[in-house]
């Protein structure tokens, strides 16, 4: 059966409404908030700082350590049991890999950069949202990096390529009659925008080869929008400083700056 209109009324290549803020956690060295629809992520970056346990230190370069955590009542269904799980450990690991494609920690040997990503509420696409938040937070913390990684999920639902699936679409057979699990695929993608390199690619479901390639092209276009939101969040936070030296003013700049 065909899937002609998306459950939440979006176009097939339309993203959920996004919102981003940099510098939301005072005590962290860098932090960010990123929202995609009903999925909300907070990322806090600490470091570079001394690496413990010491045997994990790398004398050649610093280490990036990510931690993905869903808060107990963040899901739509049951309470998520707090603490690390098989799922959260895996997502922490792929997040780390997606981000280490750009960060350069060669100037901080033996040190670690800790990234804590917390989800107060989720509605599918949480790893992508987490990566987006973490990328902003890393830049905010002044970590040297090639680019800001952007991530989004694309998918295939009932013969249509959809961008940025929500929870209902990931479980489409439960909502639309005549579809079964074979008809749905969910593919989180992260890229380095300046080069187009893919730093995260996972898939859940079944998809024909040609459709996959088409879906990835759609993802790329969507990721440019995501990246623009990320960049603007950072520019907004530091805009006050630019006005300074340009000699422009400045009146209402003060407040924005104090939040940093």
């Amino acid at each position: 059966m065909d899937y002609n209109k998306r459950l939440d009324g979006r176009d097939f290549d339309e993203l959920r409404p996004m919102e981003a803020k940099a510098g939301v956690i005072k005590k962290a060295d860098g932090s960010a908030y990123f929202r995609m629809g009903n999925t909300v992520a907070y990322a806090a970056v600490y470091g570079p700082r001394e690496m413990f346990p010491k045997f994990q230190q790398d004398p050649k370069k610093g280490v990036l350590r990510c931690n993905y955590n869903m808060m107990p009542f963040s899901g739509a269904g049951d309470r998520v049991r707090p603490g690390p799980s098989r799922r959260s450990k895996e997502i922490s690991a792929v997040t780390e890999k997606a981000l280490s494609a750009v960060v350069d920690l060669s100037d901080s040997p033996n040190a670690v950069v800790d990234v804590y990503i917390e989800f107060p509420q989720t509605d599918a696409g949480s790893r992508c949202c987490g990566i987006n938040a973490a990328a902003i937070a890393l830049a905010d913390a002044g970590i040297p990096m090639r680019d800001i990684v952007a991530a989004v999920a694309v998918g295939h639902a009932g013969n249509k390529i959809c961008v940025d699936l929500n929870y209902e679409e990931e479980h489409l057979p439960d909502y639309v009659e005549g579809l079964d699990d074979k008809d749905v695929a969910d593919i989180p993608v992260a890229i380095v925008p300046s080069t187009g390199e893919i730093s995260l690619l996972q898939m859940d479901g079944i998809i024909p080869k040609e459709t996959l390639i088409k879906a990835l092209h759609k993802a790329k276009a969507a990721l440019m929008q995501v990246n623009e939101v990320q960049r603007n969040a950072l520019r907004e936070k530091f805009a006050a400083v630019a006005d300074e030296e340009n000699g422009e003013n400045i009146e209402n700049v003060e407040n924005g700056f104090e939040e940093n």
């Binding site: 100037d107 002044g142 040297p144 090639r146 800001i148 960049r231 530091f238 630019a242």
Partner: protein
């Protein structure tokens, strides 16, 4: 095409700064084929053909000859381990103290745990092992007063041109002030004057981006304390 950004513009990692091979990548930038790309969040600084980034955030990384305020957090066989508000701790050797230390002397008599000191970074290795020294004029243990943390990247603004800004606060409040490059500031004086100095430093920190900072701070301090300040750019050795 050439340069794609203005001088002193805020840039974000991944921003293309120039698409011309004629520009030379400086700190915080890298070359990607013919593009010059930003790799640190900060302000663009263009000096002739060299494009570099002045960072706005990030931890303090020790550099040689920096004056820093540190805290002793461990006593070693022949020296002390000093926390210098950086990812890497520093070592103060017992040969680098103001007074001579006998063999087998109890090191905690000179610097005990949790005591603060002003010291100078003498060496930084490729693995970021840091040596500091207390054997120079004005380098010593800090007794009394209070210590506040400020943004490392705002330290030059707090010191001012040749120390003009700190000397202004000192004149107005009569406090002794030491600004460490690592973002630790030691202030010692009358308690209410100390408060004025702390507020002044916080004001510099939040308003450093608004032009005419020095003049504004001068009138602000004169208003609060009633002391006439004469602006002088004395010789600043990082201490005073």
């Amino acid at each position: 095409m050439g340069l794609l950004v203005k001088d002193k513009q805020v840039v974000v990692p991944g921003d293309i700064l120039a698409d011309d091979i004629g520009f030379i990548p400086g700190f915080g930038t890298y070359r990607n084929s013919h593009n010059l790309v930003c790799s640190r969040l900060g302000l663009v600084n263009i000096e002739g053909k060299v494009v570099k980034i002045i960072p706005l955030s990030g931890k303090y990384l020790p550099r040689r000859n920096d004056i820093v305020v540190g805290r002793v957090f461990d006593i070693l066989m022949a020296g002390w381990r000093v926390d210098i508000n950086s990812p890497y701790s520093a070592v103060l050797s017992n040969k680098e103290t103001p007074e001579f230390i006998e063999r087998n002397e109890d090191l905690s008599k000179h610097f005990d745990l949790d005591e603060h000191l002003v010291c100078k970074v003498t060496n930084v290795t490729s693995q970021n092992l840091v040596d500091v020294s207390c054997r120079d004029q004005g380098l010593r243990k800090l007794r009394g007063g209070r210590i506040i943390h400020v943004n490392t990247h705002k330290v030059p603004r707090i010191i001012g041109k040749k120390g003009s800004m700190v000397s202004m606060i000192k004149q107005a409040t009569g406090c002794r002030i030491i600004v460490g490059q690592n973002g630790l500031v030691w202030i010692d004086g009358e308690p209410d004057k100390e408060n004025i100095a702390v507020d002044a430093i916080r004001k510099i920190e939040t308003e450093s981006h608004i032009p005419g900072l020095t003049d504004r701070m001068k009138t602000h301090l004169e208003e609060i304390t009633g002391v006439k300040i004469s602006l002088n750019e004395g010789d600043y050795n990082g201490l005073q």
